[in-house]
């Protein structure tokens, strides 16, 4: 608990500081140490700790990382040949990423929503015409990169972006590709 919290009325103290942290679960300790080395070299403030009791998978250590930057961190670990078994919020290790998609057909255009991210495609030309929603700062940048690109040539938001919004946009894009390939 920080000094800031001690100065606050008890009822208004912030939630546990784990709310913006995530955990990376690996098969064995060697992978944990390798991931810690890779991520620290990339400038991320990561630490190693024992896993929360709810977790049944992996070894007896996990890497704690800034949850918001999940997309970039997973890409970096995959590029390093050391992907985790699982990434989850430290505050709720059993929480799962959104798997519910909503679609809206405007006639010529189709929109897919995943969590707070929406992507819209011209069904005739298969060009991405709009990206909407989201709140992390890579969203406006990703929107600019994706808008106007053919669906099949658009780079993965998960690889281009850094945050959980980028990850959600990646899911929406994949679902759009699946729907448009039918």
């Amino acid at each position: 608990m920080s000094l800031l919290d001690l100065l606050r009325p008890k009822g208004r103290r912030k939630q546990a500081p784990s709310t913006d942290r995530g955990i990376l679960v690996f098969a064995n300790t060697s992978e944990v140490i390798r991931a810690e080395t890779v991520l620290k070299a990339g400038g991320w403030p990561v630490t190693v700790m024992g896993p929360p009791p709810e977790l049944q998978r992996g070894c007896d250590l996990v890497v704690v990382y800034p949850l918001i930057e999940t997309a970039r961190i997973l890409s970096v670990l995959e590029e390093a040949g050391n992907p985790p078994l699982e990434a989850a919020p430290l505050s709720g290790p059993l929480l799962k990423p959104v798997d519910l998609y909503q679609t809206k057909d405007f006639g010529r255009h189709l929109m897919v929503r995943a969590a707070n991210m929406k992507i819209t495609v011209d069904k005739k030309t298969r060009v991405i015409v709009n990206v909407s929603g989201g709140g992390c700062p890579d969203v406006p940048w990703l929107a600019r990169e994706l808008t106007g690109r053919p669906l099949d040539e658009a780079a993965s938001p998960r690889d281009q972006g850094h945050t959980l919004c980028a990850y959600a946009l990646d899911l929406a894009l994949k679902e759009m590709r699946r729907l448009c390939s039918r």
Binding site: L4, K14, K104, V129, A143, T147, L164
Partner: protein, 288 residues
């Protein structure tokens, strides 16, 4: 004075602060041209158009380049902690910033020491951090869309990406989600929920809703939520009480959308061009 605090989608762009004036072209922030596509520049352009039409001074922008690495957001946070105590702002609108609970708390603590304390509005990433910090009730207004309302209503979710499906699928149960967010202290005092129908709530209860004019294509257009927050923030700065500003802001955004006659491929800068005319229409409706 209104301060709009957010980021630019330009990697490495340095801290940029100053008045934001918009005259239909690029946004001018302290003399620097900023492209208005979506995100905080879209919010600023809408707020600037509204403020100038009301005869108010242009909003003050605090921006830095950030594409998700958090570097620009941290520069903005550090600037706020240093400068807010001596600032003249009466309304602070926080927007696309990297959600970071520690920095959020430093900024909020700084704001709470300001006299008089400014009104606090949060949207996008800073709203996520405010909810995660457990201090959402300290805010005067949050402006979530449907997916973000599900996140506020889910007391376990640290980000909309983890909002549980049974909440995400309840688009027609907005009143229940608003109450749930309020009961768990994950809502600001007021909520402006953006959607097919825009709802304005205080203390967990809906005070009013706006559903006309309706252009379904606006749901696909990136940045329409940003412009709604911008118009509303400028009305609040002009002295309108928060529920009235939210309801009028929703009307302005919708009238601007109707004037545009949009398709799902329309871009938000086209909508912003219609805000002055839409504002004039709504002010007439308000008898002003």
């Amino acid at each position: 004075m209104l301060a709009v605090i957010g980021t630019l989608p330009e990697p490495g762009a340095p801290l940029l602060t100053g008045p934001a004036a918009w005259d239909g072209g690029p946004l001018s922030v302290a003399g620097t041209a900023v492209d208005v596509a979506r995100g905080t520049p879209a919010l600023l352009a809408a707020a600037s158009a509204t403020a100038l039409a009301l005869g108010r001074s242009a909003p003050h922008a605090v921006l830095a380049g950030d594409i998700g690495r958090g570097d620009g957001s941290r520069a903005v946070y550090a600037h706020l902690v240093e400068t807010l105590p001596a600032s003249p702002f009466s309304v602070l609108a926080f927007h696309y910033l990297q959600p970071d609970v520690d920095w959020h708390n430093k900024v909020l603590f700084t704001v709470q020491a300001m006299r008089p304390k400014p009104l606090l509005l949060a949207d996008a990433g800073f709203m996520y951090a405010a909810k995660m910090s457990g201090q959402a009730p300290e805010y005067d207004l949050f402006t979530p869309d449907a997916g973000e309302l599900a996140f506020l209503a889910d007391e376990t979710a640290p980000h909309p990406f983890y909002a549980r499906g049974f909440l995400l699928s309840q688009e027609n149960r907005v009143p229940e989600l608003i109450r749930r967010a309020h009961v768990h202290d994950n809502a600001a005092r007021h909520l402006l929920v953006k959607g097919v129908t825009d709802h304005v709530a205080r203390g967990g209860e809906i005070l009013g809703s706006v559903d006309a004019p309706s252009e379904s294509a606006l749901e696909a257009m990136g940045g329409t939520g940003d412009t709604l927050t911008g118009v509303t923030a400028a009305l609040i700065e002009a002295g309108w009480d928060i529920p009235r500003a939210c309801l009028a802001g929703a009307r302005v955004n919708r009238v601007a959308g109707a004037l545009l006659r949009p398709t799902p491929a329309s871009q938000v800068r086209e909508l912003i061009a219609h805000i002055p005319e839409a504002l004039e229409t709504v002010l007439r409706e308000e008898g002003l």
